[in-house]
Symmetry: C2
Subunit: 672 residues, 2 copies
């Protein structure tokens, strides 16, 4: 059999494994695999540096299927090249507990580099991976010892390019000259509503040239020689990311559906599967057939991968001899472990603080104490570094002039920032953090959700966290955003009350290995709580704690978060003056508190005490969980107001007097 015959058989095997999987599941997307299998095959067969036996090898090429709906094609490739994914799993496509869910779900031990599906995310994740690659290379490569030199490949679709996030990421990738980024654009002219002419007539090549990319093609995406040549050309360009425009036919081979939207998102149907197989010269009647010569050919990836990684491993051992300190540091970075003493100097940082401090400013100080100790800590803001206090002083900017810099300038691109941070975390070697105003969490929600879903350690700094930001007004004042963060599964949200709680919040964030953490920070200055008379800030670790008691047996519980803890404290003191025993609870993190044993929770919020008032400068929705049916949640159920913040607090009734009054009303029944 000639090579090209074998190639064709390999490509058709990928195609029909995908088509059969979709057909068996009676659900899924056959069109993209039929059209994109040739480019995927040539990439995986001729170029991809990977070791199916060790999917975590740090210097492997990264492959992203940004159009995640083509998942069955990825699973076929993983199975064929020898990853821990059996043919049986392909037969269980989209079924409960299979390793082959509807869209790829991050599985670092079996070659799924990233969860994709929501369009544009994978595109931007790759930019983060390419940043991580350049950063590690700049930090650790030494002449003769090249530890990091890998590509980031992605297959991207029309939909990926239509989503704004890809524009944001592409523009930044061009600015940063990420030459190791190579994207294959599956240009098939078809979207769900029909021909892309209806909505997508832009000149993609020109657009990407404008971003500073090398654009190759259009090439015939069904012709593997053309694709191979394009990939080589992309590799040859070291200074610019490359976009290969590969013209394909969606649903290729399907006599009645090829080139139409009908091929996109539903099974072809048994008869059409048969016709398609016939049209493409596929001779096997049995679904899920893998010709032995095909399997043998693909499985060469195992041997090749082992050899490549062995070479790398030897290089690394030599490196360790020559550069022991660097090798140790690299291993630490890659492990994700925090170094001995990483939190020294933090606990007492604000103990003798004598003037008010915004929690964003406290966070900036903490970050700059952590930075020299935690080498892998790297990040920045979406053009708000001076406001969010994200700059690591003395650690340089990550830029083409200096890829070892640790400060990223994301630009006014919150959505890409989130997805790029995901890519950095996915790559490994970096603990990324991001910064923007809390209101712009709305711009980046899809990326935050995916970080939580994948269990990535990303730290989000969200400042200007309430109407407390003042004059910028309702467009900038979060109302529903703190609760919004709390609703995301596996995201921990901490809204510290002062500088000392901010220290603890950072500690929690860094120690969370398998999920992101959002720190919700104030713009306005807040008094530093006097821990000599109040409970220690370490209570943050448990999510909520008794901060202050007006008397040994409380009659009423006042609960606050963030800047409003100070109002609750003031209300507690007012109540004491009225002879009422109040307890003030600081509840910076619902997730951490809810995860405590019931005994602890009940000790903080005794079920017997029904008189409870909470205060938070945001929607009161959800607070019923803590104040109960009989309690009162003081919050804001409207959009904000442009005015100095003290005026806004008065105007919206976020005051200690109101809180004390509500408490007295609740106690009213039982008291004179």
């Amino acid at each position: 059999m000639s090579t090209s015959k074998l190639d064709e058989l390999c490509i058709n095997t990928v195609r029909f494994l995908a088509v059969d999987a979709v057909q068996r599941a009676n659900s899924g997307h056959p069109g993209a695999p039929l059209g994109a299998a040739p480019m995927a095959y040539v990439l995986w067969d001729r170029f991809l540096k990977h070791n199916p036996s060790d999917p975590r090898w740090p210097d492997r090429d990264r492959f992203i299927l940004s159009c995640g709906h083509a998942s069955a094609m990825l699973y076929a490739l993983l199975y064929l090249t020898g990853y821990d994914l059996s043919l049986e799993e392909l037969k269980k496509f989209r079924q409960l507990s299979s390793k082959t869910p509807g869209h790829p779900e991050y599985a670092p031990d079996r070659g799924v580099e990233v969860t994709t599906g929501p369009l544009g995310q994978g595109f931007a994740n790759g930019v983060g991976m390419a940043i991580a690659e350049r950063w590690l290379a700049a930090n650790y490569n030494r002449p003769g010892y090249e530890l990091f030199n890998h590509y980031v490949y992605a297959i991207v679709s029309d939909g990926d390019l239509e989503e704004g996030i890809s524009s944001e990421a592409a523009s930044l990738a061009g600015t940063l000259r990420l030459g190791k980024l190579i994207y294959l654009y599956d240009d098939n002219d078809i979207s769900i509503e029909g021909d892309t002419d209806v909505t997508f007539t832009e000149d993609v090549a020109q657009r990407f040239q404008a971003y500073g990319w090398q654009v190759i093609g259009p090439v015939d995406g069904m012709d593997i020689a053309s694709v191979a040549k394009a990939i080589r050309q992309a590799q040859a360009e070291v200074d610019r990311p490359s976009l290969i425009i590969a013209r394909t036919v969606i649903g290729y081979g399907s006599p009645n559906k090829a080139g139409t939207a009908a091929a996109h998102g539903e099974p072809l149907g048994e008869e059409e599967v048969r016709l398609t197989k016939k049209a493409l010269g596929w001779e096997y009647e049995e679904p899920f057939t893998v010709p032995p010569e095909v399997l043998a050919h693909f499985r060469q990836a195992l041997e090749r991968g082992r050899r490549l990684q062995d070479e790398w491993q030897r290089r690394f051992e030599a490196y360790r001899q020559a550069f022991p300190a660097e090798a140790r540091q690299l291993e630490e970075d890659l492990s994700g472990d925090l170094p001995e003493g990483w939190d020294s100097g933090l606990t007492d940082l604000f103990q003798s603080a004598d003037k008010p401090l915004a929690t964003r400013a406290a966070s900036g100080q903490v970050l700059n104490i952590l930075a020299p100790k935690i080498h892998s800590l790297m990040g920045g803001s979406a053009d708000l570094a001076p406001s969010i206090k994200t700059y690591l002083k003395g650690f340089g900017d990550f830029s083409p002039a200096r890829y070892d810099g640790r400060n990223l300038h994301f630009g006014v691109r919150e959505h890409a920032m989130g997805a790029i941070a995901n890519g950095m975390a996915l790559h490994g070697g970096i603990i990324p953090y991001t910064g923007t105003f809390l209101i712009f969490y709305d711009y980046m929600r899809p990326a935050v959700r995916l970080a939580a879903m994948m269990g990535l350690r990303v730290v989000y700094l969200f400042s200007h966290d309430s109407v407390g930001l003042g004059e910028d007004g309702p467009t900038h004042q979060p109302i529903e955003q703190v609760l919004g963060l709390r609703t995301v599964p596996n995201l921990v949200v901490i809204r510290p009350a002062d500088a000392t709680e901010t220290v603890e919040a950072w500690k929690v964030a860094l120690q969370r290995r398998h999920g992101p953490t959002a720190l919700v920070l104030s713009r306005q200055s807040l008094p530093v709580l006097d821990r000599k008379t109040l409970a220690p800030a370490s209570g943050v670790q448990r999510g909520g704690y008794i901060l202050w008691e007006g008397a040994t047996t409380p009659e009423v519980i006042l609960i606050g978060t963030g800047s409003e803890v100070h109002i609750a404290l003031e209300a507690g003191r007012l109540l004491r003056e009225s002879g009422v025993a109040a307890r003030v609870v600081s509840l910076p993190s619902w997730e951490l508190f809810d995860a405590q044993p019931a005994e602890y929770r009940d000790s903080v919020l005794p079920p017997g005490i029904k008189a409870r008032v909470s205060i938070e400068a945001g929607t009161p929705l959800g607070w019923e969980r803590y104040v109960g049916s009989e309690g009162v949640a003081i919050g804001i159920s409207q959009f904000g107001i442009s005015a100095p913040y003290q005026v806004i607090y008065e105007q919206l009734g976020l005051t200690a007097q109101r809180m004390a009054d509500e408490a007295l009303k609740l106690l009213g029944g039982g008291r004179k």
Copy 2:
């Protein structure tokens, strides 16, 4: 005084009104007004078709300050040209209850066309306005009677162009050939983190050419002749939107801050204000000085505007004679009133439905019954029309070939879709609706929030509303999104249980004049509730209602929304078999229910009945409000699962049996 001297004085008046306002507020953004005042002046003085005495004149040009942080400049222009905005208001910039909030807030009666601030939104809003203009022109203009022929102008900033939403909107505007769109790009090279070189090196001109725009410049944005020439060139191009690249200096004139990030977001300081005035030859010591000749010049806008609108009005009266039916229809479209009989044929639509129907399919039927009656109803999906059932059959596609079409193809651009719908609603004459999967609400949240803040009538169709979508898995399965919608002030969220509730949901949405409505729809088929044995679907209008009672005196209340109402009903029947009297409440809309009088709410959820179980296939957070401290909220606190949906429901415990069991447990104490 020569014209150019007067021009200069006018420009400096705009500049220093803005600078003085920022300085007095001790908060705000002086840099953009100093640099952009010349282009704003020339646009308003020489080109803008508007009538300050009637800011609602339908054929006025629209002006959008997409970089809303330059608000003080807009207020200065509004005051100077004679809108209902006094100099006193400028002095109260950013203060409580002033007409001059920190960012422009939609005020159609005083010339603020749109709320801006979150970057990129204004850019995309303008695309919606330009769509509305073309649509009205195509529908109503007749030879000799041109009722609609106006421009949409915007000043946009670096930040606007960095945000992905502007890419989405620009690409669509190019595809749709919106030649009346003219954007001035205030290209000042500065962002908050410093020079845009750090993050924004793309070739903006080339990028916009790729989108199919005419790009003019760069021109000297400080030179009004150059800007005027560019605007004329933009007007001459009828087939493409135009981007005028106007080079400016941020903080122009400020000796110590011009051209730096320091000029952007904080007051210059009194001394620097003095120096800036001196540098620009401004001779007036008193802040807020308006030289009389300047005011006289600007106020000519009043006379000019009246004349222009009078001409239009005469044209319209002649039109009314010649085309009475069209004139009536136009007036109806512009009024936003629903026509007589708009909802006929709806109430009984599904009364004799005998097979299950997804609520998205029901919505599609409703929409197609409404479309012939409500001429202004217009919209579409973000490349998901066949899934969301948004297509209006027989009403054509809005396209360059046919601007009177009523179906929009937004492309895979949810964020722009939301903002474009806002622009259409802002323009007037259109009731826009949008469609996408509920999970992609996350992509468009900032636009939805602004619709709610501005009080716009936009209808959002969000289908595939839960794990009930099945195999596509967690990336596509909403968990926190329904609650997320509910947290937005002034947004009404309705999750109908079946086709009959879907009818009512649509009725609510269309009757809400001053706020958006989200319809949360199922992918999966749902039985049509038998209204002969159950309460009527009109209960939806009150947000929640008693659907079914197992006995006259209920012991336990079961609450459900959407697809889970059927589970609650089943649980109610199971309980009846166990001899327990359950009440089943359908609660499709929290906002509508919470707005009912307490007596009604207490009649549905009697405070005395503490045994309550709710079920919703989403986060249980927030349900405490309805089930109380002693009740149980069945929901999903994790990400979803890829599998057939029936399997997922079982797996996650979303079953009638579980619900009945929980109810029995709650009653356990008091029962054998």
